[in-house]
Each structure stands twice: as C-alpha cells, then as structure tokens.
Amino acid sequence: MVGAGGDGIVTMGDILSQAGARDGLNVIKTEAYGPQIRGGESSCVVRLSPDAIYEQGDAVDVLVVFSWADFGRFKGEVQPAPNAVVLFDEADPVARTREDLGLGADAHWLAVPFSKLAGDAGAKGSKNVVGLGVLTALFGLREETIRRAVVKRFGRKKAAVGELALKAYEAGIVHGGALASMSSRGLTFTPGPSKLLLSGNEASALGALHAGCRFFAGYPITPSTEILQFAEEWLPKMGGTVVQTEDELAAIGAVVGASFAGVKSMTATSGPGLSLMTEMLGLAAMAEVPCVVVDVQRGGPSTGLPTKSEQSDLWQAVFAGHGDAPRVVIAASDVEDCFHATVDAFNIAEEFQVPVIVLTDQSVGQRRETLDPTRLVHAVIDRAVPTGDELVDYKRYRDTPEGHSPMSVPGMKDGIYQTNGLEHDELGRPASMHLVHEKMNAKRYRKLKPIRDKYQRARRFGPAKADLGIVCWGSSKGAVKEALLMAEERGEKVAAFIPEMIFPFPVKALEEFLASVKQVLVIEISYAAQFTKYLRTFTTLPENTIIFKRSGGKNLTISEVDDQIRKFLSPDRKKGVA
C-alpha cells in the first residue's frame, strides 16, 4: 500500500496486520517513509500467510496505490509481482499503465473510486478503510475480524466516527464484490488462536525485562529508540528505573555504574552511539563489569542512512576499542530472535562478567512479526556473588581456572573492594608490571573458552551435504531461508549456516559446515565485506568461495539470493559450461 501523507496507509497496514494476528495468520509488516519529517508519503507492506514465512518478501501480490506520484518515490522499494493485482484510485491525477509497472498478461489492473466511495460514505478521509473493504471482498479476509479492528481503531474516541468508518468499509466490500473474482488468489485459512504482533525492538526490550534488567539508560537514536521508549514505559511498573541521559557516553557509563552496584543493566543504540561507547566498553572489559548493549544497525558510515538497514557495525562490535578488550557479540536474525538473543546476552554478561553487544538491524528492529506467545520462554542466569570462604580475604579478581571470579555488590560487608580501569592485581590494585598485565590479560581472555563451549550457537538449514553452502548472518536469514525452500523445490542441494554467536565464533560448527558443502557462498550487506573478512581471522575459506556483498539501504531480497543460487547451480553450470 502506498499513499501520500494523510492517506492513512499506516493505519490500513495496522488493521490488516492486527486482523491477521487476531485470526492466527503469520504476518510480517514493514513501513517506509519519505525524507519529510512528517506529512510525507508513506508505504506499508503486509505479508499474510497461513504458512510459516521468514521474510517480508520481494514483489507484492497485491498493490494498493492511492497516489501514483508517491508510488514513484518508493521506486525499487515497493515492487508488484508480474502477475500482481493492482488497485489504484481512479481519481488519481497522475496516470500509470500496467507496462509502466512491468506487469504481465495475468496481472489485474483495477481502477477503484476510493475517494468517491469514502466521500459517499460520509467519511472523506477513509480511503484506507474503503481499501480494506475491497481487499476483504477480493481476497476473502475475515470480515468480522476486520470490522472489529475498524471499530476499535476509529470508534475509540467517538462511536459516531466508528460508524462512518464501518460505512466506508462496507462500501468497499460491495464495490470489491462486483470486481473480477480473485478467489483463486485469495487467502484460504481457518482462523487459529491469536498471535502476538510485535517488532524486533519490542522483542529486544521484552527480552531484557525477562532477563531481569531493572536499570536502563539510553539516548534516543533511530532505529533503536523504541527500545528506550518501551523500557521507559514499562520498567517503572516493574520497580525498575530508566534514565534518558545527556548522550551515549553517559548512557553506557550509567549502565556500567548500575551493574557495578549489582543491578542488571543495559542500553540500546545504533551505530553512531555504539561508536561513542567504545571507550567505556573497554572499561567494562577491564573492570569485568557485566553490561548489555543492543545495537540496531543502520546504514553508515557517520549519520549515513538513519532509517535504512545495513550489516556494517560488525567490525565496530567485534574489534573496536584500544587495547586487548574481550567482549561478546551476538546477532539476532528475526523478531523472535531479538528476544532470545537479549536474554542470552544478559545470561552471558552476568555469568562471565563481560560486556555483551547484541547486533540487530533496522529491518528486524522495526518490522512487526506475528509470534506464538509460547515461544517467549528462556532460562535466566544470575550473577555469581561471593559466599562463605570466597569472602575470607576476598579477592575481586581472583585468578580462577575459568577466568571469571565471584563479584560482590554494595551491601556485602566482606565484599568491599576498590577497582579501576588501570591494569590491576587480583585485589584490584593498580599494577603496571608486565607480568601482572600478562597474567590478568590471560584471566580476562580465558573466559572466552567456556563461553564458546557453552554457546556454540549457530543455525544450519538444508541437506546435510550440499552443492552450495551459504554463510550469512543476522537479518539475512529470512531471505536465505526462503530462497533455500525455492531451491529445494527445484531439487537443488543448498544449505545455509547462520551463526547467532558472532564473537567468540562457533568455529567448529562453521568448519563442519564448510566441509559439508561443495561450494561456499558468503552473503552480507556491507560494502567492505566486514563479515567475510572477519571470518578469515579464524578460518580459511575455500579458494573458490563466492562473496555476495553490497551496501545497505535496501534489505536483502529473496530473489537476490535465488539469483546467486541459480547462477551457481544452473544446469549448464553443473555441466561446467558457465
């Protein structure tokens, strides 16, 4: 759906997706806006399916356009399938032809009097509701559910407004019914139990609260701000506190301070903020203070493309910071993952006393997905505080075999200690001797082994032995999974390896994967190929590895992946011609 500001595109998408969730369908929804701060054009893509879906999808099967002028502004972002059903306002001054949109013969090109019907219904502004009516009639959406949603949305303040909206909705249904039947393309499903409908950012915040986070400090930044806003709304109700600090330096500082004080803490940001947190994350590594940072990646460098997605904060997360500063990096690949990755982050941070960075990105952070409520379960680990003997001449940084040492918190009489960001001995006292430095570096890095052993997290899809093996990370998962299904249907043997743990990396699992495929294809959304180069730091990719990398600003599409697969598995190539 595409329209100008005021066309109610976003509302239309909300109602459609909520109705889908209500009826137990699987839904994925993404919105996009023009450069104007407000009042500009907007687009909304909603994918509904009774079957599992993993990605927003490339070309849309149904396109509703309230303004062709604005449609032009989303060139390349909203694309109808060749056989799509295209509905547009007959009153639109701008004219477009099916050819303009590259539609095929089997496409449907339908001019609809959206504005007129809305006007007749006495609700001029409700083109969008009329649109919902038309879609209901054409594709067999559940009228009852959508009526409820419409009433809820418009009748909230004034019942009368709700009434008018329903009129518009009905007008749409009537008009739609009279149009060519699309039953063949319609959705056929039996309503199931309602699903949750939430964004990746909301899932990250939920994960934090579930993990026991009770202090959140943050500074607004697109596309991560929803996490701060969610925390600010809910933490007080849970007895926790939130501070919107003066900047990101203060945010991560307060998080480290609260954690030093014994409270599970986190912050959320995007690239520019993560860059500003570089120094403080080094202190957390040195003083071994648990903390969690969620970085919702956007296009970079610098201010870059604040509202678009990219996978280019990988190096910053893994390598940034002067000195040898151990940290853990986890990647979330979809909305549900945002929840689990954040809980894992807290579990690792608290058990091993390291800073943990969770990498998500704008595409998963801000899109909404349906989710079965029962999926949101995840065991929680709490910090190990010293007890009994450990408190007899307590050493904060006791040099233990596993690396981490029990951490006392204010209130523990025998746990009192003074620490710092200088190199220090087991008691935490400043020490600048090489030998102490060597020993304490070893202690801090030793933690990575148990972490790697315990969190060998990586997903593997496809056949155990494959002709092509795709290695990617984060939000690329969706498009790759769907492309894998298409390849499977073509009888092609394609597998995929997608790590959840980025650092320390599940090297064994990767190497087993590499050994199980004939040809390796790395896919990532970073012009500099950050992921590929990172992989090379610990493994040798086969000579003939293919790298598919590009800049962000546009999410990885299923067809991009499919093209790559075809390129290397097409028959003639198999014949060794290509």
Binding site: P236, G253, G257, A258, I416, P430
Partner: protein, 293 residues
C-alpha cells in the same frame, strides 16, 4: 543516678582507610581532602559497604583506592555517569563522586551539568588545583588567564570558569567552596554536603605543589576567608556575588535549597506508573501484544 555512658561510635576515621599508599606527591593538597573525607565519614558514621566512591582519572581521581568502601576509579571524565548508575539503581547506597578540575570541568563538564540539573543523589567533591596534575602540568579550565603551563608557553589565552557559579546555573541544590589547607573547614563542608539530599557540589581548592609550585598554596591560604555571616544561601543571586572572585576566596556554603532529588522524583514516577497495582510481570506485558478486539 548517672546517665548511661554514650555509646562509642562504631567507626573512627581510620576505619575508612585502605592500606594502599597514595601515589600523591609529598605536600599534595589531595592528602588534606582525603583526611577530611575520613573524618567526615566517621562523623556521619557512614556504613562502608553501603557507600560507594566513584571517580574519573587524574591524581585526585586515585582517591577511591584509599577509601575502604566500594570504590571505582573509572575513566577520564565519566565519574558522574557511573555515579548516576549507582545512585539511581541503588538508592540505599550513599554515592560520593570525586575528581579533578580537568576530569570534571573539561572532559566531564557535560555530565556535571546534567547531574546537577537532575538533582542527582550524589555528593560531588571536585579537587581543584587549576592544572592537569597527572599528565604533568597542562592548562585546565580553572587555570587563571595568562598563567604559563606546559601547554600555554605564552600564557593561558583562555578565561577560567568558576565551578561554583556553573554548579548553581546547572541546577545544583547545594554548592560549597573549601580550601584543603583548612582541614577543619573542609571536614565541616564535606559533612554538610553529605547530609544534603540531592546533588551537592563542593569545590575544594587543593594545591598541586608539583606543577603550580608553593605559591599556589600560599596565595590560596592568603585569599581564603569564610563567607560573611548572614549570607543568604537560598538566593542564587546572593551566591553569584561570591563567584568569579579574584583577590579573595570565599569558603563555606554558597547555596543550599530544598528540592526533590532525582530519586524522589523517580519514586513518584514508579508510584504513578503502578497506580497502586502490584509490580507488573513480563507475561502481563506480553499479553498487551495480542490484538485486543
């Protein structure tokens, strides 16, 4: 019948001393601040395990290592953000932030502003020696104009700030000025600062014998004199009369007003948010994501 003998105080100043030897130069003004802090803590009988001393980086910022409480000598300029985390997440812990003029007014200036504005529940003691000590003598925001330092060969071109005037403009609710050469006075002021609810800022002139020479101590000693009796501590206009002083150094409580502290306000918010209901659980929050029609 005679009254029962007064109970002995649980803590004496020495109880707050760690056995780490200060790295400070002989004669450094910071020794005075440390001693004063020990005494003030004893006077108030602060519970060591429920006290946290947080600092940034600098000679003065080494102080937490010498105080037997939870202590954190963090990174340059970030004492107050760390202190914010401790104070807000653990209202039961008494938080003291300390550091130098470079740490608190140069790199850390923004946190000073916003911590004061929020009326953060922290006592902030700034050891002002008008120089960067640890890095061996570069100009600081409080170095007088014209002074020669390692980075002002031709005299400092920049005007200095008055930390106390800044604190008041930032919104600090308690502001005092002390001279570490006056131990008794410093103890008294630290005690008052610690007793204040909300953000208390104490600027202690603490000479750097190594990079500012003996003259600094001498001139401060000569200039220091208590604020006039009857100074109205509730008026910022009155307080401003004793800022940007050149020939004298007025010590004492410049400003002291009552206003809800950040923790007071956050408590109110928690109450408002819950509106009498029990603490919300995650499953309850999850439910709000189910379409409710």
């Amino acid at each position: 019948m005679s009254a029962a003998p007064p109970a002995l105080p649980a803590f004496v100043p020495g109880d707050y001393k760690t056995d780490l030897k200060p790295v400070w130069c002989p004669g450094c003004g910071d020794f005075g601040v440390l001693t004063a802090l020990y005494r003030a803590m004893a006077e108030l009988q602060l519970t060591p395990e429920l006290t946290a001393v947080v600092s940034g980086i600098g000679c003065s910022s080494r102080l937490p290592g010498y105080v037997e409480t939870y202590g954190f000598n963090t990174v340059h300029g970030r004492a107050l953000p760390l202190a914010t985390g401790v104070a807000v997440s653990r209202p039961d812990v008494k938080v003291i932030a300390v550091g130098g003029d470079g740490d608190g007014l140069a790199i850390g200036g923004n946190h000073f502003m916003h911590s004061a504005r929020r009326n953060l529940d922290v006592t902030y003691i700034l050891m002002d020696n008008e120089i960067y000590g640890l890095t061996k003598g570069q100009v600081a925001p409080t170095t007088p104009t014209g002074d020669k330092t390692k980075t002002t060969h031709y005299g400092n071109p920049e005007p200095a700030v008055d930390p106390c005037e800044l604190a008041i403009s930032f919104g600090a609710t308690w502001v005092g000025r002390a001279f570490s050469g006056d131990l008794k006075g410093t103890v008294e002021l630290i005690v008052k600062a610690l007793q204040h609810r909300g953000f208390a800022f104490l600027n202690v002139m603490s000479p750097c014998v190594t990079w500012r020479g003996d003259d600094q101590f001498k001139s401060l000693k000569a200039k220091a004199r208590p604020l006039p009796a009857g100074h109205d501590v509730t008026s910022r206009f009155e307080a401003f009369k004793f800022t940007r002083e050149t020939d004298v150094l007025s010590t004492g409580v410049l400003y002291d007003v009552k206003s809800p502290s950040l923790n007071d306000r956050l408590d109110t918010i928690k109450a408002t948010a819950r509106a009498g209901a029990p603490l919300v659980t995650v499953p309850e929050i999850v439910k709000t994501f189910l379409p409710s029609f």
